[in-house]
Structures are given as C-alpha cells and as structure tokens.
Amino acid sequence: MTSTDSTQPTTAPFLSLEAVRKTYPGVVALDRFSMEVRPGEVIGLVGENGAGKSTLMKILGGVTRPDSGTITVDGAAHDALTVEQSIGSGIAFVHQELNLFENLDVAANIFFGREPLRAGPLRLVDRAKLREMVAPLLKRVGANFSADAPVASLSLAQQQMVEIAKALSIKARLVILDEPTSSLPMAETEKLLDVIKGLKAQGISVIFISHRLHEIERVADRVVVLRDGTLAGTLPKSHINHDEMVRLMIGRMLKEREKAGEAARAPGSVALSADAIRTSTYPDRPVSIELRRAEILGLAGLVGSGRTELARVLFGIEERLAGSVTLDGKPLNVTSAADAVANGIFLVPEDRKLTGILLDLSIAQNISLPNLPAHARRSLVSVGAELSTAEKQKKNLGIKAPSVLTRTGTLSGGNQQKVVLAKWLAMNPKVMILDEPTRGIDIGAKAEIYGLMRALADAGVAVLMISSDMEEVIGVSDRIAVMHEGQISGILDKDDFSQENVLLLAVGKKPKLLQAAGGAQ
C-alpha cells in the first residue's frame, strides 16, 4: 500500500461504462450504471447478491447485451460487447468456481486449446516450447510451483494463480476476479492479494469482487458499490473503510456482529465429546474436542488442517479410525449420517450445491427429506404435512422464494443455505455442525445466518462453526478452537480472541494469552 494513490486522472480509462441499463423479465438488473477503470487501477466491486454484479460481469464478458448505454473499451465505443470483442480487448475473468482441468498439469491448463505444435502431420504438442511460454507467466503471478505440477496437487490459491496466469497469457489488460478469496484460508488469501498488487504494478487493471470487505480495504484503489442494480456510491482510496462500504451496500447501518468482549456466557454442559479420534487424512494424529450446549464453538485453521474431516467423522460420513465419541455422556457409535441424524447431530456441509441440498427438488421436498417418515402415513408421503412444515420454516427463516414448491436450484446462495438450515431446524437439533456456513453468501443473509446460529445456541444447542473467515470466527464464536495439521492446537476464550492468536495457533505456534495457562491440547 505504498504508491497506490499516484495513478490518477491523467491516464485515459481503459474501460468506461456509461448509463448502462439491463432488464430481465420483471426485474431491472442494472440501471443508469456508470463506472471507469483506469490502467493499473484496482477497483473493489461490492454489493449484496442480486445487486447486479453478475449482470455487470456478463455484460463485460460479452455474454449479455445491455438494453441501453455505452461501453467504451480502449477508446472504442460500443453499444454492447461480443464475447470475441471482450476477449480481444484483453478482458479476462477468474471465476469463483475455477475452470481448470484437475487431471492436467499447469502448463496444459494455461494453454489449453492453444498449445504450440510441432511441425509434422501428427501435430504433437511441443512440450519444450510450451514450458518456455509458461515460465514467464508463472513468474509474473509469483507462482511457487512448477509448470508440470498436476493441478490437482495445487492448493486453491495456487489454482487461482494458474487461472490468473491463463488470463495473462491472453494478454489481459483487465482481470476481473469474482470472489477469488471466498474459499481461501487466511494465509492463502495473503498470496492472492500479493498477486493482485503484482498485476497492478505491471499496469494491468483489476476488478476485485469480494464479500470480504477487509480484503477490499487492503488492495482497492477505489471501491464501487452496487445496490439494487444502481451505483450506490464510489469510494476513493482515502474513504475506503468497512462501515462505509456496508452502509452503501445495504443503505443503512447494520449491526451484524456481536460486540467482541461481551461478557462471556456461562458455558453449558458437554453435549458431544470426541476423544482421541483419528481421521483418514491424519491417521497418525488423535484429535479430541468437546462441544458444549448453548455455545458456538468456532473451529479455525488453514484449509487442509483437518477441520472438515473432523466434522465429517462426527457426522458419520467418514469413517472414524479410532477413539470414542459420547453424546450427553453416553457412548455413541455413529457409522453413517443416518445414525448421526437419528441422534440429533446435524451437519450443514461445506459444499452446499453438491451435498447440502438437492437442486432439482423443491424447497419442501428438501426440508422433509431427512425426516420423511414423520411426513408420511403408512409409508406414503403426505404432501400436506410436507408443505405445512416447509411453510413454517420458510416463514421462520425468511426464505425468499415464490413458494415452497420452487426448485431450490433457482434460489440464491443465501436462500439455498437457509433451506439447508431449515431441514435441520425442523428436527430439533442437539448438535449442529456448520462447515463454512456463509461462504459465497451476501452480507444481509450472512447476518441472518449468524442470528440463527446464536438463536440455536440460546436454545441450548451445541454449535460447531468451521470458518476460514477471520472476522466471522472472532465475531460469532463463544470460544475458538484452532486446528493445525490434524490436531487442535489450542482453544481460545473470548478474552484471548484476536486475529493474531488464531493465526499463530493455525500455523502451530503459541498464542499470546492473557492468563499464563490457557489453550488445551
């Protein structure tokens, strides 16, 4: 953040949008929207889901034609861009969901479909030349992996670097990063932010879309805020701060997080206790954890530290190799998710679309699925009972959908997550495990999900929340357990909450505690 304020008005903008409008059936997705991107400028683009970010991206990518307005790229004005024009003028996208071939190596991914070929009728790929072409690209993104590493072996941040290198390979002048950090753990996020700074130093413009506002604070030269399809405001570098962005995004101040340092609650009795269990990822490391009633235990740690595996073992999806589990003091042998569900242990999984809900089923069918026998008479499904449960949950959770018969696949991420929660809330949870519950969800829905977790804890449920979002872990948890390489490296009480302490534990170092004796092993 040294010389970021220097590139100002003198340079002509690389891209400018003027009074762009786009409507869909019944909705104005974007209206009177104008913005500029100058060479080497990092624009932070924020807005709740549905604010018009995706529409804007589609217009810039040439996928969608705006109804009116002007798009000027590199001095040439257009009514609309075509995909070819978008690519040809150097606009490149790195999407939240990566488009890489995991089974191929880095080089093959970067030049997929554009491989240099050797002369001759067989048109063999010229591996040597390919490597030569890839090397400088990897250097530009500061990659710490080789061109022939299989993509499957790379971390998420490294895979994102591959995507960015791919963007650079087509001589990108504007790289649009769509929520690149939403699935990255803290340390990896740092690397990505460095890459963004590197792009900027090379004169490449960046549009950085993220729900993680503190990241925007750190890298953006300017912040553009969208709300309900219109420009809610633009913040210059000097005015970028968290509260201001939130205010513009939702048009009001939001009390989303609990005040840290609030009087610590009296912890409830132990609901679920796992003693020296081992997971297949770290078969040599026993891990123990206690979940207490009426408490939100945050589980932090780097991706790959074994948090998700621990959750999956507790939920019975993954095999427990050793150790014992007790529920309410009684030994519990969970060997399948069905066992866990029967005992009131529920999981909101990390991957909502693949494992959380069935996209092709309706809201009502998703909600009744885990408890279908209760919605049936003589083994025949009672649609009436199903609908009434769903209606109740829809109202309780504020699921925004035309009806409970709506296919869940058509809902926004936040509403899909609410459906996942609804199916468990309808069944009286004892232990609720949430794995990255707010990933890819907009701020308004996030606040609601935090509220739900708190309400669950208040009702006596033991809540375990796995999260890679530092603000979230610190803001929401009553205690924080941190995992490092398959084991709990420490547990922080509310007084010891700090980003630094969580990070220290996450990399296996000692935290700085208020009391001399603290964290448990």
């Binding site: 869909y24 494992t355 699925l369 083994s379």
Partner: protein, 331 residues
C-alpha cells in the same frame, strides 16, 4: 398422467391406427391377446429395470437371469417334481438373492452397476447352459399343471392373466415409486446420491432394495416366459431382453443419469415396443429388420422428446421476456 406419457400414448394410438388401416388383423382378438401377453411379460421386466435406472444404475443381466431362472423353474417342477407353488417361491427368492448380491457389490464394494451386471449377464447365461449341458429344458409329454398354466398363460374375461398381473403390479409399483417414502428416496438418490446421504438417508440400503425389486420382478417374468415358451434352450432364451427393458424405460422418459421417469411411461414404452414388433410381422416387413425398426423408432422418439423440450423451454423464455418488458416499468 404427465404430458410425456400422454405423448407416448398418442404415438401408440397413431401407430396402431396406421397398422390397422394397412392390415385390419391388428385389431383381431387373437392378435390383441397375443400382443398384450407379450406386453405383460416385457412390462414386468421394464418395471423392474425402471427401479434400478431411477437410482442411476443399470441392470444388464436381466436376459441371462430369465434363461437361468426359467431353466431352473422348469427343471424344478418337471424333473425334480417340486410342487409348483414352492418352486414359484424359490425362483422369486433366487431373483431376490441375485438382486441383493448385485446391489451389495455396487453399494458396499463400490463397483459400477454396468460392470457388476455385465458380469452377471455372462455368468448366469453360462451357468444356465452348463446346468442343462447345453440341452433344452422342457416338460415331458403329458405333464400338466392346470392351475399354474391358467395363472400364467390362461385368460379371464378375454384378457390374458399375465396382462392382469401386469396391471396389478404396475399399480402397486406406481404407488411405491410415486407416492411412498421409499420412492422419494429413490428419486433423491437418483438426483444426487451424496446429498441424499448427507440428509441422513441410508442410500446403500435403498439402492440394494431397488436391485432386489428388479431381481424379484425379473424372476417373476422368467416364470411367465418359461410357461409361455414351455421349453427353454438356455443358449438363446431371453437374449437381449435387458435391452428391451432398458429401451422401454428410456422411451417412457427415464433418464439413464437417474432421478427421472414415470412408471406409466415405462409400461407405455413396453406397449410401443411390442406394437412395433407386431407391426413388423403384420406388415410383412422382413423379420430380419426387426431390430433396425425398433432402434430407429426409439431414436426418433427420444430425439423428438428432447427437441420438444428444448422448443418449449425456448418458448417459455420468449414469453417471459415479452411479459417482462411490459411489466418492467412497474417494478
């Protein structure tokens, strides 16, 4: 009845009308009775297959199971003089065991359904041929089983009893597939097995149950086929029947990816296939072209269905966008 089923029904009626116009014998009592008997035999197979396909699986061993169980059935009652009700139950139990083993291999040992049932196809055919020493299983002269013969090959009120059995089975299985908790689990697993598992469904058990259902229904139709042909040469008996069953299910709107399809469709698919067989015979088309006609019609049917879906989706979108433009200012 869904629109898809209705379309299929109309197709069946149209083809029927055309065939009748060319050869009125199509509607003769004897032809209808024969065809409906065949529809029943293949229909029971298709219903079994449908339960497997809905989970995203496939059962390729059907034809061989029909040869093996048919051979065993005739051997039991004709040679070993087991009472036919006992033999009947034994054969159904064997069918259930075969289905259970397939389901178990697929869910517990994580083998692919295609591979497991392909091996089954080879194994059961081989065992059947070995069992009869490549001979023919049949009844001795004068051997009679009046009750059994009435139930399988007889008629009531002009309707083949096998067809009545199909109707009963279809109704029961329709309720199971479309109205029961188990049926909902089948659809959920077909749509997304992982998510179903994460919702606390014992997916393994449900899938095994689907294969058991398929096995039992296959065994039942094996008995029907045995009593229909009355003699079985295991080298060829039931060959390609799995493909008839799969084709009927696909015609009826079942997706091989799982999670889609209606039981009425599977039955109507069988009706159409048998109608086509019948058409080849009645219109004097060389019977060597039999398979080609069937393949062609299935291909056209699936194509039309798919294109129709695309067309409707596009029309819906256009309509929505017209309405949207009109309604936009109000928003």
């Amino acid at each position: 009845m869904s629109k898809k089923d209705l379309g299929l029904l109309i197709l069946i009626l149209v083809v029927g009308a055309v065939v009748t116009a060319i050869n009125p014998r199509f509607l003769s009592a004897i032809n209808l009775a024969n065809t409906s008997n065949l529809v029943a035999l293949f229909g029971i197979l298709s219903i079994g297959q449908a339960f497997v396909i809905i989970t995203g699986g496939i059962e390729l061993s059907v034809g061989s199971v029909i040869a093996l169980l048919g051979t065993l059935f005739i051997d039991f009652i004709a040679v070993r003089e087991v009472s036919w009700p006992l033999a009947f139950v034994l054969i159904l139990a064997l069918g259930a065991i075969i289905g259970f083993v397939h389901g178990w291999l697929i869910t517990r040992l994580k083998l692919q359904p295609f591979v497991v049932t392909l091996c089954g196809l080879l194994i059961y055919r081989g065992v059947a041929r070995f069992y009869t020493a490549d001979g023919t299983a049949g009844f001795a002269f004068g051997q009679n089983f009046p009750t059994l013969e009435f139930l399988t090959a007889g008629r009531s009120y002009g309707l083949p009893n096998s067809f009545i059995a199909l109707i009963v089975i279809a109704i029961v299985m329709w309720v199971v597939l479309h109205r029961s908790v188990f049926g909902r689990y089948l659809y959920a697993i077909g749509k997304n097995e992982e998510a179903a598992k994460y919702s606390g469904i014992r997916t393994g058990r449900v899938i095994i149950a689907a294969y058991v259902i398929c096995g039992v229904l296959t065994a039942l139709s094996a008995i029907y086929f045995a009593m229909y042909t009355r003699s079985i040469s295991p080298a060829s008996h039931g060959q390609f029947y799995e493909l008839y069953a799969i084709a009927a299910a696909v015609l009826g709107g079942f997706s091989l990816r799982g999670g889609e399809g209606s039981l009425v469709g599977a039955v109507l698919g069988t009706v159409l296939l048998q109608e086509l067989q019948n058409l080849v015979n009645l219109l004097g088309i060389p019977s060597s072209l039999n398979f080609a006609v069937m393949g062609g019609v299935i291909l056209i049917g699936v194509l039309v269905d798919q294109q129709w879906g695309v067309f409707r989706a596009r029309r819906r979108m256009l309509e929505a966008s017209r309405r949207g433009v009109a309604g936009a200012p109000a928003e």
